[in-house]
Amino acid sequence: MNALYSLLFVFLLVLIPLFGVDAAHMRTFFGVCVPTTAFIIFLIGFVYKVIIWGRSAVPFRIPTTGGQFRSYDPELFKQNKLDCPQTGAQTFFRMALEVLAFRSLFRNTRVSLYQGKDYPVVAYKSSKWLWVFAITFHYSFFIIALRHLRLFLEPVPFFVNGLDFVDGLLQIGAPVMYLTNVGLVLGVLLLLGRRLVLPRINYISYVSDYFPLFLILAIALSGIYMRYYAKVDVIAIKELTMGLVTFSYTVPETIAAPFFVHVFLVSCLMVYFPFSKLMHMPGVFLSPTRNLPNDTRAKHHVNPWNDPNIKAHAYADYEKQFGVPMAEAGLPLDNPENGKAPAEEEA
């Protein structure tokens, strides 16, 4: 149900620019105003959210340790430097591995229950599927985004041309098929598929979980349609996109409707991004269980709101309360007076 709502919603989003451009002829609006506004909202929303996070305090150092810590004898007990970092540099590498290789997801296991010969068994199996889907999806998305720089930079920088070459290495068809295009669509479909098929994941999925997947799928498909089927005028599009980044806006007449659909959907994604779970992108960098070294026993860490007025129940009060039996039991007292039985109690 949630998936259907999302699909329907994305469908509506596709229709808006189609009508807007074809029927209402709002080419400048959809070609310039919408993406520029969306980009500004994205930037401001993104920064705003990260700053909100940053202004929240980090009272304690609570890394989740994923291996042996640095021992008093690192020779005898080898530290797992990447999963249990002790220094800034080690933490940096842990974060790099987390961000670039999805290290934690790589650990994923799947639990299954079955009746063994003599007793029931709970079994754990390494399960890398989610990792594979996620890596495929994210890297494809990232490379595709980078490849789009060809539309925003003149001359096109060497690494964009390089990416283009590597991405189209298989030289299938003309224009050549990009591996990342396949990867993105496949990745989205797989991520979508597991949300639809796996009962547990389905159970925890909201409209807001399906929507970005459908939206990205629609973006990918509209892009693929432009490239391989509509064969839009790339040079005209580059004139428009270069106009966006040089603040000299033009909307060439030869640009066809699919482009406006694509741009509108991307704009939707940019606006949606800062207000949604997609913020996991900057969020992973700010996760205190990952980005702090496991060194609190060796180094002092400051909690900005530590309350110095919270003090231990004083020993003096303790001795006052228990002094008499303590004296009887032969426990040493700081103040011998406390060991004397209160005289007036009987009276």
């Binding site: 930037l43 925003f152 041309n161 283009d164 064969k231 005028d233 040089t246 900005p304």
Partner: protein, 128 residues
């Protein structure tokens, strides 16, 4: 504004925003982008198909020509008007479009496209 571990956060944000807006900085430094002007052949007014067709479909046409000529041995192409041409990049296309730099590269460079035609074919003059 007080931020714990604010320095890396701000630096990270600055890098991110910087990279995202770099095209604006680069773009405003260079002059306004205009579509490249192609140097059209001097002694021929009409290509084998219409300009619109050639503009959107040339890559596919060339791809098909290669397959027809090299794999099927078919050497004759009949265009939409029924006119026949010899399927040959060197002898048909480049007869008129004899300068790669002035024609092919104009758009391909801007669009960041590098077709692999010249992996096998000898490059026409005007390469460098």
């Amino acid at each position: 504004m007080k931020m714990q571990y604010g320095f890396p956060i701000i630096v990270g944000l600055a890098i991110f925003i910087g990279l995202l807006t770099a095209p604006f900085a680069v773009g405003t430094m260079t002059k306004t982008y205009k579509q490249p002007e192609l140097k059209l052949p001097a002694n021929e007014k009409k290509c084998i198909e219409s300009t619109e067709f050639m503009r959107t479909e040339h890559m596919q046409l060339l791809n098909e020509w290669r397959d027809w000529a090299l794999r099927d041995g078919k050497r004759i192409y009949t265009n939409h008007e029924g006119k026949e041409f010899v399927i040959s990049l060197q002898n048909t296309c480049m007869k008129c479009h004899n300068n790669k730099a002035d024609f092919c590269d104009k758009c391909h460079d801007d669009a960041g496209v590098s077709p692999y035609c010249w992996d096998c074919h000898i490059q026409p003059e005007g390469l460098k």
